[in-house]
Symmetry: C2
Subunit: 341 residues, 2 copies
């Protein structure tokens, strides 16, 4: 039976939401896996006591320290060795657990995962991707979204290969399409790094490691021209955060418009209510909580990274994602493909 | 009196829209400037004949060649010397005109402007910015949006300085705020180029050349935390094109929702019509045609670049922008500030 460590202290709504999501995952799945909930006992145990956990495959482990959003990623692993983050990852390293799940400080989780778990054979740099809505079926994956700011062509190609493997084996998308984010479609566009990356992506395509459709541009992301959009961490992080700010921005525009129409009498309160409910429904494609989080791809172990504002539903789905990665042997596939010459 | 050259052949709706916008600018302004319309006589003259131009400060000039969207920017200036693009810029170089306006091939216009007009004293690399909607008053300027893919710190700082000068003297914004687009807010974030740029922007702030608020992130763009967002051309171009694709994407989501609500009977056709008109109104902030285009900043002359899909209104406003840059002596200010050590 798989053992998944869940960081009770990670996330804006921790530990309450994390506990709730963990209990739900075990109840819903019929105790399909074992969960070790790790965190500060004085904060976690009173909340955990509200649930009847006697029938659940759940164990609580005390970790006295907490890595907060203000901790510096690179140093947290050294200064907070008794944190749920470091102790949780050490359980994975010691093979006492199979996966680690957290919605805490993303940078610290990436740094600690790399430090404690190390890299898979053949991987130059682990990476993190994000989900994006698109026109039509499915979602777009953008990689990298902040783990690697300066990227070499060989890094970018490995990112495409790793996400392709995750999508193929983890998500069951047989032929995910990779596009290279550039300032124009034509081959030969962009910086030297992008030109060289283009050549390496073509090579990876000819070896069957990825399916490459060439350069794509910013307007192709929402159109869904590619399943996997490759770019460096600065571009990806900016697009991700920009995208996340769109619903709020439009919500403000919507409220301003609605107020005007109501006060001028063009809209009745009934029409306003109908329109508001329609507007909310429109943003359903922006709901990426169904995935909960994303795996930190390329580390020698499973470390699932969640959004700070994760709900209990997101936590639950992150636990399922960890299970999924283990069952589909995603890491074994990554090591195999990336070790090939 | 100022003389402005307008490229009759530039843009998706050229020459009809260009002619219409030119005539409107002269009529509306009461012949405040002189316009030289340049392009292929067989295409322009029949359309121009539809207007009574006898009272307008308008002259037509024949240029037998046309630079199309398919021409390679770097070579068009050499292979199409008899084009409206090259001939129009040569008029500026020869001081027979004061500014050049076009909605044609942006890359070719930038390359030709740099080649024909040269750089202003002190400018390392000319740049191009874009307008972005934001919460509240005003607009955000993103710079660079594609003229420079690989940027050195000293280039990025000059971009901030040039847009600051344009906003201060050209647009009357006394204290435009500059933010450096990065993966996090804290000083010390990002690549070596970004860290060095941060230091140089602080230095430029202490000299009073710009007002710098530090690093900003993708979600700060629509929030309007900065008036000027500095990034390299790949990041800026991607954000620009991504942003331009949002209204279409949301339009698709809107239509899909509306169809469902109509077919299920939750919305009557009357409510659907009201909601549709409200939705359209919401996107008014995305209307950047009021500016028409943007100046190619840093070249020794005035070259206004418009969007391919420019309407006659956009063309008209580009002509006003050229007038504005001349009257406010924006280029003189750029040369002065960027030549300072």
């Amino acid at each position: 039976m798989l053992t998944i460590v869940v960081d009770a202290m990670g996330g804006d709504h921790a530990p309450a939401c994390v506990i709730e999501g963990t209990v739900q995952a075990l109840q819903e799945s019929g105790n399909r896996f074992k969960i070790i909930l790790i965190g500060q006992s004085e904060k976690v145990e009173p909340l955990l006591a509200k649930y009847d956990t006697s029938m659940l495959n759940l164990k609580f482990l005390h970790a006295p320290e907490v890595v907060t959003m203000n901790d510096i990623p690179a140093t947290a692993v050294k200064t907070k060795q008794q944190s749920s983050l470091v102790q949780g990852l050490l359980l994975c390293k010691a093979k006492e657990a199979d996966a680690y799940v957290s919605a805490g400080n993303t940078g610290a989780q990436m740094a600690a995962s790399l430090f404690v778990l190390g890299r898979l054979p053949g991987v130059l740099r682990p990476t993190i991707y994000a989900y994006f809505p698109r026109i039509g079926e499915g979602l777009t994956n953008i990689v990298d979204v902040g783990a690697n700011v300066d990227c070499k062509p060989e890094n970018l190609v490995q990112f495409a290969e790793m996400v392709t493997i995750y999508q193929r084996y983890g998500a069951g998308i047989e032929k995910p399409i990779t596009g290279l984010l550039n300032i124009g479609e034509e081959e030969g566009k962009g910086s030297e790094v992008l030109k060289q990356t283009y050549r390496l992506l073509k090579e990876a395509d000819s070896k069957g490691k990825i399916t490459f459709i060439g350069n794509i541009e910013g307007h192709d992301i929402l159109k869904g021209r590619a399943t996997i959009v490759v770019c460096d961490g600065l571009v990806g992080n900016t697009i991700l955060k920009f995208g996340e700010s769109i619903p709020e921005f439009l919500g403000t525009l919507f409220s301003q418009s609605l107020e005007k129409l109501l006060s001028s009498g063009q809209f009745t309160p009934e029409i306003a209510a109908l329109t508001t409910s329609m507007f909310k429904g429109m943003f359903e494609p922006f709901d990426v909580e169904k995935f909960g989080g994303v795996p930190f791809l390329g580390v020698d172990g499973i470390s699932i990274v969640g959004h700070g504002r994760s709900s209990s539903r997101a936590i639950k789905n992150m636990i399922y994602m960890a299970e999924h990665m283990l069952e589909r042997r995603v890491n074994e596939h990554i090591a195999e493909v990336l070790s090939e010459k």
